[in-house]
Symmetry: C2
Subunit: 398 residues, 2 copies
Amino acid sequence: MMALPKIVVLGAGYGGLMTTVGLQKELNYQEAEVTLVNQNPYHYVTTKLHEPAAGTLDPEYARVEIASVLKQDKVKFVQDRVIKVDPENKEVHLADGEPLKYDYLVFGLGSAPETFGIKGLLENAFFIRNLNGVRLIREHIEYMFAKYNTLKEDRDDLLTIVVGGAGFTGIEYVGELVDRIPELCREFDIPREKVRLINVEAAPTVLPGFDKELVDYAVKYLEERGVEFRINTPIEECTPEGVVLKGGEKIDSATVVWTGGVRGNPLLEEAGIETARGRVKVDEYLRAPGYEDFFVVGDSSLIFNEEERPYPPTAQMATQQGQHLAKNLTALIRGGSMQPFKFDLKGTLASLGRGSAIGIAFGKKLFGTKASILKRINDWRWYYLIGGLPLMFKKAKF
Amino acid sequence: MMALPKIVVLGAGYGGLMTTVGLQKELNYQEAEVTLVNQNPYHYVTTKLHEPAAGTLDPEYARVEIASVLKQDKVKFVQDRVIKVDPENKEVHLADGEPLKYDYLVFGLGSAPETFGIKGLLENAFFIRNLNGVRLIREHIEYMFAKYNTLKEDRDDLLTIVVGGAGFTGIEYVGELVDRIPELCREFDIPREKVRLINVEAAPTVLPGFDKELVDYAVKYLEERGVEFRINTPIEECTPEGVVLKGGEKIDSATVVWTGGVRGNPLLEEAGIETARGRVKVDEYLRAPGYEDFFVVGDSSLIFNEEERPYPPTAQMATQQGQHLAKNLTALIRGGSMQPFKFDLKGTLASLGRGSAIGIAFGKKLFGTKASILKRINDWRWYYLIGGLPLMFKKAKF
Ligand SMILES: Cc1cc2nc3c(=O)[nH]c(=O)nc-3n(C[C@H](O)[C@H](O)[C@H](O)COP(=O)(O)OP(=O)(O)OC[C@H]3O[C@@H](n4cnc5c(N)ncnc54)[C@H](O)[C@@H]3O)c2cc1C
Ligand SMILES: Cc1cc2nc3c(=O)[nH]c(=O)nc-3n(C[C@H](O)[C@H](O)[C@H](O)COP(=O)(O)OP(=O)(O)OC[C@H]3O[C@@H](n4cnc5c(N)ncnc54)[C@H](O)[C@@H]3O)c2cc1C
């Protein structure tokens, strides 16, 4: 009997988990040996992390136990941290376990924060990246609020939150905080007017690249709820005391959350693979340049649209890549040929807290409650894709 | 018309609030000018503070808005911080407002932590003293748990909680933590066995002064739930890293909570009044020695029993003092004479978390659920005393 082809999938994010769930659906028993590696026993729903980071959602609703969506006879799950990929020797090194050999590798370890060289950012800011990290942000903010009333001095910096970046993630996070701050004020006996929420953006507009009418709607909505925007204003340095803006202005703030951008996972560069800002410009079959067996999905992959501009890294992109790649890998293993991947942009929605959102879907601009409902339905779709109706009903908050 | 006699009550704790509520019941309209001063707009239920400090109770259930229990036509409420009492000039100095003149003063500002000269304690430990302080303790513990999983190193000190003192408050707090820790472990993905809860006591026994059978019950109950007791072991120093015990052993701990004892409020000593450990040995009418118009109730007062041993400072004592003093002050104002105060010990109950307690009531030893229920009924009684049935039904958790 021939040895089964070994498929190793790294990362149970949108891209990796979708590939894995697709493979276990497509492949017959004993057609291939599929292994999924992830550092946590759970998948976290990255697109929802701004909510537990603000404290508006129990993290329970932003995670799925990986074991609960895998079929054990078709996929082996390894909980470990990937420390190195070695495409020459076709193996993956883990923090704790033995190296894994592969015939096909799917790299889906997500992104790393892009700091644009801003001094002190990595050391002093928080990042909305994973479940452990967002729980820390939530607890940090609550701790600062609790501390405020126990001190003799007026430490207004404890009640000042700076969100760096007014892109998609930044705006969604600010939207959640706008809902959360009045709750925190009630809980900790703090007057609302004491709390400052400042959103700093280097670009000349909030939500760069978005339709102007939608941007204006978002800005008005958030400003009415107390958000101070500092547009066209790069952060020059982040210190333990707050941020220094270009021009020298200092904002004292105990909580700086950076959402200004992501780059590819550093393990790719470290493996000697060609990257741009850490991301791999994959071919039409999602392969790293020069490799037949090294696929990249999700935030670490780079794909260009017809105008030769890069698509932004999104869950939508990662999901479609995963679905497509599962079919292609199945074809390969059966001796068939792969189909080229084409991204199909269905729409873009950004939430503005619990009750509102903006975006484009079905070719139409959407605002307010309607957009918010659509956004939620889209979250449910993800649970449906990976775990069917039972998971959807368990995790969806109606 | 003669000026009305001015009664000023300092502190809306058990002693001060009971006095005030008693006065507004006893006195007729326009018989006296009663002013209550308290630094917060709310009364906090000190005897329950170990619960929000552990995170097992929403602080909402351990507080009462003062305005909701006062009759505005009979009592004036001043929200301010007392910074000095001046018995020679019969006035009270406030942090923000004008000084208050009085004819009769009721001092009920509670206690201050007794550190027994332990180095670093005031700077590095937490104290279960007031609502702001216990919210800080809860948030601090949660922050340490959240931090643990975001660090590369194994920082076990983040998951180590040291409670200094195994008296009444210490044991009640440890009992709450025993309930809380498994919840925290679930919430932050931390294995229970990683968390240490250490109760350090200088005296040769847990709950010094308690009946041995009750002490043994409590120790067994708590040890079975993972508490490590270090009896006969004084803390020598508290540092930002943890505690140093007598003999030199160090315990690395990010959370040290000191419950080892209280002394009288320092404002009394500062006013030149004779004190022992900050407490005033009051006469049978609850007056400071040498004064006709200066009454002390609650933790700042010192009363001896028939064997010439001091009664421990309790809410039970403060409540009875307040009830008695309201009657005496009314008599004085009406030209009558005061009755001597006699403390009537009804019983003593210490909770061991949600489901258990120990103590003595109706002359009988009580353990477990029965004691726990009695303890809760006793909490309800306090709400009834200050706010009647409506407050009791609002605040009681059934
Ligand atoms: C707050 C927020 C809101 C967003 N909203 C939207 C939205 O509304 N719509 C949208 O389309 N996109 C949205 N995005 C972007 C979207 O979340 C990402 O594009 C998507 O998650 C990328 O998927 P991925 O598979 O590349 O990686 P991820 O989903 O980030 O998953 C990576 C996985 O790899 C694991 N991993 C990482 N390193 C290692 C290692 N060394 N060893 C083992 N395991 C490892 C991680 O634990 C994780 O499970 C949002 C992003 C954020 C932060
Ligand atoms: C965790 C815990 C559990 C306990 N359990 C029990 C129990 O089960 N049974 C029991 O009998 N006793 C118990 N006690 C003891 C009991 O709580 C105290 O004896 C009681 O609260 C003393 O009442 P008090 O009126 O002296 O002061 P407190 O109740 O402490 O009130 C003092 C008031 O004065 C205010 N204040 C203080 N300083 C100033 C200032 N400078 N200016 C303005 N306002 C000020 C405070 O805000 C507060 O409202 C417990 C104590 C603790 C900490």
